[in-house]
């Protein structure tokens, strides 16, 4: 399996604090991967680097079959290259309806002029309805996103990511603050998505990770501590030390 994303030897320092230290990471397509680690392990910074929000001090981030470097690209360019990102807090356009949110996210030309003259076709409407059905919001298409529940917003955001049709989906703590049934739905969504693309889930919750049933990468102090199945990594003495403290 060729890797879709290859991060190698990446380091980044904030005011003397080494948030990421010689990190290397690969993921193929399709694949579901969970990234776990204690607070401050560098999980969010790792995502920031991949999505172009933070520039690393050294290292390489290569993408796709032609191994394009992502380091010189803007966030928007990286997103258009096929990397979608879900934030920890749900970020949807609360002022707009669910349908509008999804329509904005649909994979289309992103330039201002094309968008200015864009008028949705029946196929686009159908696609939006399909997505809404997938994330369980069919009944709320004309609802303002702002009045959705927390879980519904998370799903809507995942739906927007899916509408973007990315090849790699980075998901930051999707289950935080969800009830058990909501978590199960989220698990299903992610597993379904991972059938056709690469999905990286950053999560604290071991239970949720277990349900994802996938390869796990443990981050600690900015680098990979262990990688493998959940059972494999949780039996690793170093991982136990890190999580339980010494």
């Amino acid at each position: 399996m060729r890797s879709l994303l290859e991060v190698s030897g990446v380091s980044v320092t904030f005011d003397g604090f080494r948030a990421i230290n010689n990190l290397s990471f690969q993921i193929g397509e399709p694949e579901l991967r969970a990234v776990i680690g204690p607070n401050g392990a560098g999980k969010t910074t790792f995502m920031d680097i991949v999505t172009g929000k933070t520039r690393p001090d050294e290292g390489k981030v290569l993408w796709g079959e032609t191994s394009v470097s992502l380091l010189g690209m803007s966030e928007a360019q990286i997103a258009r290259a096929g990397i979608g990102r879900k934030f920890q807090r749900p970020t949807v356009f609360e002022d707009q309806t669910v349908a509008d949110n999804l329509m904005v996210a649909l994979k289309k030309d992103r330039g201002p002029f094309q968008v200015l003259f864009f008028r949705p076709s029946p196929a686009d409407h159908a696609r939006v309805e399909d997505l809404a059905a997938e994330i369980g919001l069919s009944a709320h298409l004309q609802t303002q996103a702002g009045i959705l529940s927390h879980g519904q917003k998370q799903w809507l955001e995942i739906g927007m990511l899916l509408a973007q049709e990315p090849r790699l989906l980075l998901v930051d703590e999707p289950a935080a603050g969800m009830s058990q049934p909501e978590r199960d739905h989220t698990t299903e969504l992610l597993k379904e998505a991972a059938k056709t693309r690469a999905v990286v889930v950053v999560e604290h919750d071991m239970d949720f990770v277990r349900k994802l049933d996938c390869k796990v990468t443990v981050l600690h102090e900015g680098s990979v501590l262990a990688e493998g199945s959940l059972d494999h990594v949780t039996s690793n003495q170093q991982v136990i030390d890190v999580y339980l403290g010494r």
């Binding site: 904030f14 005011d15 604090f17 948030a19």
Partner: protein
């Protein structure tokens, strides 16, 4: 009867020798001593002294080196000299109101008996003669025992130096012991040597001794040597001291100016300007035509040129020199600047020395500019630091910050209404201004800002609303015109290092205030519990509140603190700026710039921003001193470009604290 005739004869003889003495005084042997006898020798010249002739008498007197001469000259100048009609003896009188008058000998002061006022003629030298006597007196005064007299004499020479005084100063310097007077005399000697000395080498040496002298007088002494006259000739004269040769059409000598010089010197015919041609054509209109061309066709330059040429051919107007003729005339002559000073050695030395001085002055000006920059930076620091704190901690921009500065200045004004002593009033005004604006800031935070924390842009507009309301209210209460807020005497004046470098005491005080507040704030933010909490709220408000810090209280206190410092800054600014309701608006934009350039949430950032903005503004003003508006324009453009390279300012928070 014989005596006066004899005296006249002698006088005529001596006149001739004295005239010779004037040209070569050193060669003449000392005249016969005895004041009275010398005067008698020049009897008529003393009795009917005139500006032209009196110098002869004076020279004879001075050459005699008689000790009574200075006192005599003073009395003569003061119109206290009398002549006894009977024998022409010159005397003083004891009291000019007494009758009979008691006569005194002019050498010894001994009484010579009495005389009625009719027996005496009062000698009243006119103003011109008085002046000449005064000039002669100067050399005695230069050697007087009283230093004050010597100082006065030096000043008299300095006002109107003359070539003959050069040696007097030399003589004075031989004996002068007072260091201040010595300095003064030496300076005068140098200056007069440059101007009057006959020996070229002496002058050059004197000129070169001024290298590195940055006083304005030094340049004033040298610049006359470099004055030039612009001349035109067929060829460069050989013996002239030529400063530079000019090329017509260059920036130094535009072509039109060069041609005008030719015309003025009668070396070329007058050119015909468009205006002159027009007037000539109008003067030659006959029956609606000019030289056979219809007037209504003369609406173009080409047509007018044709008409003029026709007139010239008919001899009605002088022909206009063509472009080629003008060029030829210009090419046939040289244009040059000639020094008024004939000696090339002197002008070369002067030019070199002036260049050296200017380099030196340039360096000092840079230092002076830096001092100005520092003082402006401290003003901006004081004005902006409050803004930076509130912006850093709460993320809101307080548009009314400028009005808090203005309120501080008005507090100073009001305090002076009640406390007339300027020193005390400022000491009272500083804490009071802090209290007033602290209160205003806290009130504003409680009433308005805290409801708007999630909407920073609206805070900006709401505080703007407060700003215009405050400004108008102050205008209603105090009026629109400037109010006096006066600095105490010990703050007026300047600390002067030399003619180039000086800094006013107010600015030094403001610098001190800036340093004081920098240190104070650093201590508050880094060494106190409040500071710790403020920094915690700045970096992560939600985390801070979860750790038991009450962000409400912190916000309120921070806002109060920031506003209070604005009040203090207002007092400082009010001391040198006009206290008007618009005072704040003049500083608010610079304060914003300072904060934006420096970076928020860090007093070092504000310091860096204020320094950059202050120096930059002074630097731009120095490049273009006539136009402060342009300076501000360019500075703002710079800030806009600066933001391109450091969007978060000079001292930027990094990492997560910087936020998304």
């Amino acid at each position: 009867m014989i005596r006066p005739i004899l005296a006249t004869l002698v006088a005529v003889f001596l006149c001739a020798t004295a005239a010779a003495a004037q040209t070569a005084p050193a060669a003449e042997p000392a005249a016969e001593s005895g004041l009275q006898s010398i005067l008698q020798e020049h009897h008529d010249l003393v009795e009917r002294a005139s500006r032209q002739t009196v110098q002869t008498v004076l020279d004879a007197l001075i050459d005699s080196e008689d000790e009574a001469v200075p006192a005599f000259l003073e009395r003569w100048q003061a119109r206290e000299l009398y002549m006894r009609n009977a024998d022409g003896l010159f005397v003083y009188v004891q009291n000019d109101r007494a009758d009979p008058l008691v006569l005194l000998d002019i050498e010894t002061g001994a009484e010579l008996g009495t005389a009625g006022s009719r027996d005496l003629t009062a000698l009243r030298p006119n103003r011109g003669v008085q002046t000449v006597i005064g000039a002669a007196l100067v050399q005695f005064q230069l050697l007087a025992d009283d230093p004050a007299t010597r100082a006065t004499a030096l000043q008299a020479i300095e006002r109107a130096p003359e070539p003959g005084q050069l040696h007097m100063i030399g003589r004075m310097l031989d004996e002068e012991t007072d260091p201040a007077l010595r300095d003064q005399a030496e300076w005068l000697l140098t200056r007069m040597t440059i101007a009057f000395a006959e020996d070229e080498a002496q002058r050059v040496a004197a000129i070169e001794s001024l290298a590195g002298d940055v006083r304005v007088q030094a340049r004033a002494a040298l610049n006359p040597l470099l004055l030039t006259d612009r001349r035109v000739a067929e060829a460069l004269p050989r013996d002239a001291n030529i400063a530079r040769v000019l090329e017509p059409g260059s920036a130094a000598l535009p072509r039109a100016d060069a041609y005008a010089m030719l015309v003025a010197a009668g070396l070329a015919p007058q050119e015909v300007t468009a205006q002159m041609r027009r007037d000539a054509l109008i003067a030659n209109i006959t029956n609606g035509t000019v030289a056979g061309i219809q007037v209504h066709q003369l609406g173009t330059e080409a047509a007018r040129a044709r008409a003029y040429a026709a007139l010239a051919a008919a001899g009605a107007v002088p022909p206009a020199p063509t472009e080629a003729e003008q060029t030829a005339a210009l090419a046939a002559h040289v244009f040059y600047d000639e020094y008024r000073e004939p000696s090339t050695a002197v002008t070369a030395a002067a030019a070199e020395t002036v260049a050296a001085i200017n380099t030196h002055v340039g360096l000092l000006e840079a230092i002076d500019l830096s001092l100005d920059g520092i003082s402006l930076a401290s003003i901006y620091f004081l004005a902006a630091i409050g803004l930076a704190i509130t912006f850093g901690v709460m993320g809101v921009i307080n548009m009314a910050h400028g009005e808090f500065i203005m309120m501080g200045a008005y507090t100073g004004y009001v305090v002076q209404l009640f406390i007339p002593d300027y020193t005390v009033s400022i000491l009272v005004a500083l804490p009071l201004a802090f209290a007033v604006t602290f209160g205003a800031g806290v009130a504003m935070e409680r009433l308005v800002i805290r409801w708007l924390y999630s909407r920073p842009l609206e805070t900006l507009l709401a505080t703007f609303g407060i700003s215009i309301a405050l400004q108008q209210i102050v205008r209603q209460v105090f009026g629109a015109q400037a109010r006096p807020f006066t600095a105490p005497d010990w703050l007026s004046g300047s600390l002067v290092f030399n003619d180039v470098v000086a800094i006013s005491y107010i600015r030094i005080a403001i610098f001190g205030l800036g340093v004081l507040f920098f240190v104070l704030l650093w201590l508050i933010l880094n060494k106190t519990r409040l500071g710790l909490e403020v920094r915690a709220v700045t970096q992560n408000p939600s985390m801070a509140s979860s750790m038991g810090i009450n962000p409400d209280r912190i916000n309120m206190l921070t806002f109060g603190l920031g506003s209070g410092i604005a009040g203090i800054a207002g007092v400082a600014i009010g001391l040198f700026a006009q206290v008007t309701p618009e005072l704040g608006t003049h500083y608010i934009v610079q304060s914003f710039m300072t904060v934006v350039v420096g970076g928020v949430g860090n007093i070092f950032g504000t310091l860096a921003g204020a320094t950059l903005i202050g120096f930059l503004q002074k630097g731009i003003e120095w490049l273009n001193p006539s136009n402060t508006l342009a300076a501000q324009t360019y500075m703002i453009l710079f800030v806009i470009l600066f933001i391109q390279f450091r969007p978060r300012g000079i001292v930027a928070l990094k990492g997560r604290a910087a936020g998304a």
